[in-house]
């Protein structure tokens, strides 16, 4: 496809914004997307606390590529490597996480230190004198940078610095990390599942305020019961909260919706479902956050929820729990999703239990809401096979001050996607 054809996959004028469904179904577009989007921008790898100690490692597949994140025993720096032996290709790291002094390939027993240097070759005398260990270290991913503990990689050596790439999203990461006392930990146990749909549908869904009430009616009903809030309806708290939310384009394809939370939040908004036993502690936390950050910032931290998309495939949902969701394309009609629960390392056991309980009600593959999102995305993907209709409509809010139930955030995502696909991005991530 020509760049001009790719640019036309997103069609917009002043009152209309639409996306060609081929963006979700075409194998050719999928292959171009792998190179022009995923191999040119920053992609989230994981949180630094997952490798808290020297020699800690995790393995992770990023856009189909097996990688590993290792904390150096010498420098304490966290680095990312391609998880493949420079000798004949076997994966070096064959478990999800752990700690190692030496990383040894099981096939021919070449071994590497935590900086990737080749430190052992059985029967090295069998190689010609020109053989140099320095040529056969583990290959680092071209770029690996962290922002406040969030570790990203890029396969593009010329990509702009991560802090520039994050643009307006930085402010939201700051807000979240500040609220966690600057020390986040990843709670053990992750959600890891597949969805038979194009990955971009989950990007849209993750901050789609418009779908919340119709798709998740059963969740809001349950919430009304446990928190004694109003049932969804025109005048209910949940309806007005959705309507009153705000939406922001954060630049570089990142965007956020932010709105008052009808539910409790472990940081720090008490609700009846949290039980009286946690009320005093949450009130203390509130007072502490107000003192530290001032009323305006603290109230926003505590009482608002945020659904933040960091382009292209990282979602940080600071809602009834703090969820980090990363999704990778597998095929045009298939993605792989990993989600973690993050929390302040300083959190008390009581609030941690409440946080986890709140997570499970809405989120996760067994929650009261997420399975219906999976169903919606798969249903869209199945609907595309019908043909007959070429465009998806993303026009909501183009003729008014956009709200959280509008589609400005999706337009921000798609414009960036289009510009990368059509080679229109000149600075930084362009290739």
């Amino acid at each position: 496809m020509l760049d001009s054809d790719l640019a036309r996959l997103v069609d917009e004028d002043l009152t209309r914004f639409r996306v060609d469904r081929a963006a979700m179904t075409s194998q050719e577009i999928f292959e171009i997307e792998t190179v022009r989007v995923f191999e040119s921008v920053w992609i989230y790898l994981g949180h630094e606390s997952e490798v808290a100690n020297p020699g800690d490692f995790v393995r992770r597949t990023v856009v189909g590529r097996p990688l590993m994140m290792i904390r150096s025993r010498k420098s304490n720096a966290v680095r990312a490597f391609f998880n493949t032996c420079p000798h004949r290709g076997a994966t070096i790291c064959r478990q999800d996480a752990g700690n190692a002094k030496v990383f040894q390939c099981f096939y021919h027993a070449w071994s590497f230190d935590s900086d990737g240097a080749l430190i052992g070759v059985p029967d090295e005398a069998g190689y010609p004198p020109s053989f140099d260990r320095a040529d056969f270290g583990l290959m680092p991913v071209p770029r690996c940078e962290s922002y406040r503990g969030f570790m990203f990689v890029s396969f593009n050596p010329n990509v702009e610095p991560l802090v520039d790439y994050l643009a307006g999203a930085k402010e939201y990461i700051d807000l979240i990390v500040d609220a966690c006392d600057d020390r986040i930990e990843v709670i053990a146990g992750k959600n890891d599942h597949g969805i038979e749909a194009n990955w971009k549908l989950l990007a849209e869904n993750s901050f789609d305020g418009y779908h919340a009430l119709p798709t998740h009616e059963t969740y809001f009903k349950y919430l009304a019961k446990i928190d004694k809030t109003d049932e969804p309806g025109d005048d209910s708290a949940s309806s007005s909260y959705l309507a009153n939310g705000s939406v922001r384009d954060l630049g570089n394809g990142h965007a956020v919706i932010e709105k008052f939370s009808p539910y409790g939040r472990p940081l720090a908004k008490w609700a009846p479902s949290y039980g009286e036993e946690s009320r005093a502690e949450i009130e203390q936390l509130r007072a502490r956050l107000v003192k530290r950050f001032g009323t305006e910032t603290a109230i926003r931290m505590m009482d608002n929820g945020r659904n933040l998309l960091i382009f292209p495939n990282l979602v940080i949902n600071d809602v009834m729990s703090l969820t980090v969701r990363l999704f990778m394309p597998v095929r045009p009609d298939r993605m792989r999703v990993t989600a973690w629960a993050y929390a302040p390392a300083s959190e008390s056991p009581l609030l941690r239990a409440k946080r986890l309980d709140a997570y499970l009600t809405f989120l996760g593959p067994g929650g009261f809401a997420a399975p219906d999102d999976v169903e919606a995305l798969e249903s869209c993907q199945q609907g595309y096979a019908a043909g007959g209709i070429r465009w998806n409509e993303l026009t909501r809010g183009m003729a008014r001050e956009p709200r959280a139930t509008d589609e400005l955030q999706m337009r921000a995502f798609w414009r960036r996607w289009r510009d990368l696909m059509a080679n229109r991005v000149l600075a930084g991530a362009a290739r």
Binding site: G189, I226, T361, P365, D372, E378
Partner: protein
């Protein structure tokens, strides 16, 4: 250990009846098998030993949330399960692990098949039960844990049914 004067056959009959209620979507009746202090837990695939108060699991229902789960699945708005999938809960390798003050500990293997919309999904794993003696004779479920053997939900995507 507290001795329970029950045979494996009696335990199996109870578990098979529970499985049949799930497969027949008689979820209200299924919920009556649980004590008021019951818990139903499904750990995350990657962490079978998880403690739901400290670790992220997929399901940790007390009786209130279990009843809400049933109400949700009975409605027309649990979209992943409306129309309902067809399921088959197969229970095998039933072992009585002995009794304590909580009840009788029982483990079993399971395969749960789920068919819907041209998809065939499977869930394979181990059940751990704590069974209480029902006043009317037989058992009630005080604790049910379904630990999955699959390292991820790569294929099934969700746990939208009751395992």
């Amino acid at each position: 250990l507290i001795a329970w004067n029950v045979t494996r056959g009696e335990i199996e009959d109870f578990l098979y009846r529970e499985a049949a209620l799930l497969d027949d979507w008689k979820l209200d009746e299924w919920a009556t098998l649980f004590t008021d202090d019951a818990h139903y837990v499904v750990p995350s695939n990657d962490f079978p030993a998880a403690d739901p108060t400290r670790h992220l699991v997929m399901i940790d229902d007390n009786k209130q949330r279990l009843l809400a789960r049933v109400e949700r699945l009975n409605s027309r708005h649990a979209h992943r399960e409306f129309p309902h999938s067809r399921t088959r809960h197969q229970v095998m390798n039933v072992i009585s692990e002995g009794g304590d003050e909580q009840g009788l500990r029982v483990s079993a293997s399971f395969i749960v098949w789920r068919f819907r919309n041209d998809r065939a999904d499977f869930y394979v794993g181990r059940y751990d039960y704590v069974l209480a003696a029902a006043e009317t004779g037989g058992f009630r479920i005080r604790y049910k844990r379904a630990t999955l053997d699959m390292p991820s939900l790569e294929a099934a995507g969700t746990v939208s049914i009751i395992l």
